[in-house]
C-alpha cells in the first residue's frame, strides 16, 4: 500500500472499491415522498444501506415563544439516530454530534425555505436515521428537502447533499462505511442545484488544494444525478392528482379535490396548512426561474452543464 495513512486496502489495483463501486460511482439511492400520514410532508430515503425517514410539521407556532422571529419563520431540524441504527447500540437521545448535525441541517434548509413568507412560525423537520452506514447527515438533508417540498413549504429549490473523500490516496465519491472510518479525508457537502449555492460544507482529514477542488467538482456533478431522483420522487407522489385534470389550467385546483382523492375514511379536517404542494412549489420555482434566466419556462435550466453519468474516471 503506497499510502502511509491507512493500512486498510479500500481500493483494489483496478480501482474497484470494497462494495464493487468505481471511484466515481454513487451508491444506489431510492427516494419516496409522502410516506407518513400525520406529518404534513415526509420522505423515505435509502442510500446504500442507509435508511432515513423524514417528517415535516409546519409552519406552526414556535415554542418556546422567545425563539419567534417577527420578520421570518425559522426551520428547526432534529437529527435523531435510532438506538438500533448502528452495530453497537446507541444510547437514545441527542448527543453532541446529533446536536451539531441538527444545527447545520437547519441552517442549510433555512437557505432554501422562503421563510419571510411565514413570520413568527417554525417548520419542524424530524430526521430519523433507522439504519446508518456513512453519510447519514447528507442522506437526512437530501430527504429533508424532499419532505419540505412534499409539505408544500415554499422553497427556492431542493437541496442535494453527499459526502466524498479520499481513500488509499485516491479521491472517491460518496464514501461508504469502511471508507469513512479508514479513509484520509471526508467532505460532506450540500448544494442548491438551481442556484449553485453551497449550503453545507464540512471537512475532516488531509487534502491538497487541488484534491479539494476536484472533490468539490465531483460532488457538484453527482448532485445533479441525485437531484433528478428527488424530482422524480415528487412527481411520482403528485402525478396521481394531476390525472383528472390534464388540461392546461390546473394550477388553481381546489383544496377539496386533493382531500377527496386522499383517504375517504379519515375523519380529520382537511389540512389547511398543507395546500396542494406541487402547485405551490412549481409556481415558486417557475417564478424564480423566470426571474433569473431568460430560458423558456418549463425547461430545466442546466446549472451543471455536465450532469451526464459522471464519466471522468481519471480522478
Amino acid at each position: 500500500m503506497s499510502d502511509p495513512h491507512s493500512d486498510v486496502q479500500l481500493v483494489s489495483d483496478e480501482g474497484m472499491r470494497l462494495d464493487g463501486r468505481a471511484l466515481d460511482e454513487l451508491r444506489p439511492i431510492r427516494i419516496e415522498a409522502g410516506v407518513l400520514e400525520r406529518a404534513d410532508g415526509s420522505c423515505y430515503l435509502e442510500w446504500g444501506s442507509n435508511k432515513v425517514l423524514v417528517g415535516v410539521y409546519g409552519p406552526r407556532e414556535v415554542h418556546p415563544k422567545h425563539m419567534q422571529n417577527p420578520l421570518k419563520g425559522i426551520v428547526q431540524a432534529r437529527y435523531n439516530m435510532a438506538a438500533f441504527s448502528v452495530s453497537e447500540r446507541k444510547r437514545p437521545g441527542p448527543d453532541r454530534r446529533a446536536v451539531e448535525i441538527s444545527k447545520i441541517t437547519s441552517e442549510a434548509l433555512e437557505c432554501v425555505v422562503l421563510t419571510d413568507q411565514f413570520p413568527r412560525t417554525t417548520v419542524d423537520v424530524y430526521i430519523e436515521v433507522l439504519e446508518a452506514s456513512a453519510g447519514t447527515r447528507c442522506a437526512g438533508l437530501t430527504a429533508a428537502s424532499v419532505a419540505l417540498a412534499d409539505a408544500g413549504i415554499p422553497m427556492k429549490d431542493l437541496v442535494v447533499a453527499l459526502a466524498s473523500g479520499k481513500i488509499n490516496g485516491k479521491l472517491a465519491l460518496d464514501l461508504g462505511k469502511a471508507e469513512d472510518n479508514f479513509g484520509e479525508a471526508d467532505v460532506p457537502f450540500a448544494i442548491v442545484p438551481r442556484t449553485g449555492e453551497v449550503v453545507l460544507l464540512q471537512m475532516d482529514g488531509h487534502l491538497t488544494k487541488e484534491e479539494f477542488e476536484t472533490i468539490l467538482e465531483m460532488n457538484v456533478r453527482a448532485a445533479a444525478q441525485v437531484y433528478e431522483l428527488q424530482k422524480q420522487a415528487l412527481v411520482k407522489r403528485y402525478s396521481a392528482y394531476a390525472e383528472p385534470a390534464p388540461g392546461e389550467e390546473q394550477a388553481a385546483q381546489p383544496v377539496q379535490a386533493v382531500v377527496a382523492s386522499g383517504s375517504p375514511e379519515r375523519f380529520h379536517e382537511p389540512k389547511i396548512a398543507a395546500p396542494p404542494p406541487t402547485d405551490v412549489v412549481v409556481d415558486e420555482i417557475l417564478e424564480a426561474v423566470e426571474a433569473t434566466t431568460p430560458a423558456a419556462p418549463g425547461e430545466e435550466p442546466d446549472v451543471n452543464a455536465d450532469e451526464d453519468e459522471a464519466e471522468g474516471g481519471d480522478i
Binding site: 407518513l36 400520514e37 400525520r38 406529518a39 444501506s49 435508511k51 425517514l53 423524514v54 417528517g55 410539521y57 406552526r60 432534529r78 435523531n80 435510532a82 438506538a83 438500533f84 441504527s85 448502528v86 452495530s87 453497537e88 447500540r89 437514545p92 437521545g93 441527542p94 419542524d124 424530524y126 430519523e128 433507522l130 439504519e131 446508518a132 452506514s133 383517504s263 375514511e265 379519515r266 375523519f267 380529520h268
Partner: protein, 259 residues
Amino acid sequence: MPADIVSFIKRDYIHSMAKQGVRLDGRGMEEMREVEVTKPFVTSAEGSARVKLGKTDVVVGVKIEPGTPFADRPNQGVLIVNAELVPIASPDFETGPPRPPAIELARVTDRAIREAQTFDLAPLCIDAGKKVFMVFIDIHPVDYHGNLFDSCEWGALAALSVATVPWSKIDPDRKDERLKLQNFPVSITVAKLSDRLLVDPSLDEEEVADARLTVCTDQNGDVRAMQKGLAGSFTVDEVKYIVELSRSLGKKVRSKLAG
C-alpha cells in the same frame, strides 16, 4: 397519548356512532385494521421489524450485546424495553426525555414480553455474575394513528422472532444462534366508548375513549399481561369478554407475526 383537545361535536359524533355499533372507518366493532409486517427491517440490528397497523407505523430494533447481569440474577441475560415517542410520529409528540405515556408504553410491552417468558434468559449467560447478553428492544413509532400498545408489542415480538444472538463476538469458535422463542404473547387492546367496546381503537376513537384495556395472551390462550388505562371503568363481564376476544383475535395476529 391522546393529547389533542377534541371538539364536542367530534366527541359526540363518534360516541353516538359507537352507540349504534358503527365506526368512523366502517369497521365492525370487533374488527382490527389491516396488519402488515416487514421483518427484518434493518441490518444494523440483531433483530428488527416494521409493523403497520392501518396507518399506524412502528419500527422496532433488537440489539443484543454483552453487558453485566443484575446482582440478584447473576446467571440470566437482561431484557430492556425502551420506547421513544419521537416527534416525527405526531404533532403532539415532543422532543426531550421520555414522558409518562412513553414510559407506560415501554413498560406494558416489557411486561408482555417478559411475563410470557417469550424467550429464556438463562442461555444468554456468558460468564455467571460477570457477563451476560443484554437484549435491548427499542421501539420507534414513526406514524401515530392510534393503538400503539398493540402495534409496539407486535413489533417487538416480530423483531425478536428474527433476532440472532451474536455468540461469535464473544467466542470466535461459536456460531451465532437464532434467539429461540418459546412463547408468542400477543396483546389486543379494546377501547370503551359510551358503554360500547371496540377493538383496535383508531386515533379518533382513542382521543375520545372513556377507558382502554390491553390484554396479552399466549399461544395456549393463557393470559400473560394486562393494562387498563384512562379514567373510565369496565364491568367484570366486560373484562371477561375482552379476555375472550383477545384470545381469538390474538390467534390471527400471531400467525401473521410468526410467519
